[in-house]
Symmetry: C2
Subunit: 247 residues, 2 copies
């Protein structure tokens, strides 16, 4: 297991709340858990620290970060600024292939809505926003949004399924704006979309409590959410999507 894989594995375990916020992670236990030595673990922890998922104290150890309510809210607000920018960029710069992929995802999403396949919707939703970010043509924006999405998936644990229908209608509109090549319309559409999502997040009661022990994510219909999956790495990453699928 390579160090980047270790990084992703730890991040997934954090997002899935196998490692709860505030928990101490010792290098050796992580090394044993993932079957590697301490060196790759240390590198993975440095990456995760830079991403804000953990923080380290010298000679003491590494701890899973704890985000306050206000920071969680800021997370949503920042994404609410970035994604519309991303969309207007995408309206101008998208390639036909990217538009095609988006439309395909929307079609799949609408089908899944009709059939009520919620866990698939979460994955498709992540993928849609991932491709949208990619279509902006800015790797910087793409990476930022990716990191934000992962943290949002972590903090809020779940993509609310009841918004699925409206959400995918909004995706249709976003696609249309991109197809028309209209940055302002794309910007407005995504702004609406994100603000609706924000409202959905903020109005639900946060169910952090039960996550404790080892593999706690047996709660079937909510568990899938996080799926942004490893966008950064070039090579083979695409398929894995470890976060998204339950065993």
């Amino acid at each position: 297991m390579s160090p980047q894989q270790v990084c992703k594995a730890i991040r997934d375990d954090i997002i899935r709340r196998v490692f709860e916020p505030g928990r101490r992670l010792t290098e050796e236990s992580l090394a044993a858990r993932y079957g590697v030595s301490r060196v790759p673990v240390r590198e993975a922890l440095r990456t995760l620290e830079a991403e804000g998922f953990v923080h380290s104290r010298k000679y003491v150890g590494t701890f899973v970060a704890e985000l306050s309510e206000t920071e969680a809210a800021d997370l949503l607000e920042i994404r609410g600024l970035l994604e519309p920018l991303c969309a207007s960029r995408a309206a101008a710069r998208r390639t036909p292939e990217q538009l095609g992929r988006l439309k395909e995802l929307v079609a799949l999403g609408l089908d899944a809505v009709a059939d009520g396949r919620l866990e698939e919707l979460a994955r498709l939703n992540s993928r849609f926003h991932e491709v949208l970010a990619e279509a902006s043509g800015s790797t910087l924006l793409s990476q930022l949004i990716d990191q934000l999405s992962q943290k949002i998936a972590w903090v809020y644990s779940v993509e609310l399924p009841r918004r699925a229908h409206d959400s995918w209608q909004e995706h249709v509109e976003i696609c249309a704006a991109l197809e028309a090549g209209d940055p302002e319309r794309a910007h407005a559409a995504v702004t609406r979309h994100i603000s609706h999502a924000e409202a959905a997040y903020l109005f639900r009661d946060r169910g952090t409590g039960s996550a404790a022990g080892g593999d706690a994510d047996t709660d079937t219909d909510t568990g899938t959410g996080a799926g942004t999956g490893a966008g950064t790495e070039a090579g083979t990453d695409a398929g894995t999507g470890a976060v998204t699928e339950a065993p």
Copy 2:
């Protein structure tokens, strides 16, 4: 030299263009340069990779990142979204101490403008925006803006000094808005401030071409910005200002 110090040292060398974009960095040479072993160097590189300053290819090596023109522009645009948000947050959440520090910095800045001490202005400017970010009360926003500012300092190499007078007048206005506790006014003030700065960046001709050798930025009237710094900060991480100052 600890690994975080190594990280900062490498980052500073990248920003100062001691290591040019695209250059290959071997772990051993870095280890020798900073007088440590390869292990701390590897950890530093993982952090820098997460921050986007370098990228690694397995079994090949680590290379200094190369940012395109559009990505550089995006950098400014993203900061242009984030800093105003930061300011409205700060108007609501700032502590009196933070406001005091900001006002003190503005006073120092205006003095420095009057006396024409340009290199000091760059440092004060960075510090001002740093404290402003801190006053937002969101470590997330603070970190994001910090990273963005560092990258902007890297890509654009220099804080344009001729804007100094106007810039510090705008800082006065920002402070006033924060003192009044008026988020909208703060938002507007920072939006203006950033857009002026953006215009200044974008209208200058980018002198990247000659950057080859060690210290190529000898073009006198712009040269102060990305000063040497060289890890003057000892204790905590607080002083990212190392980038901005000149000897």
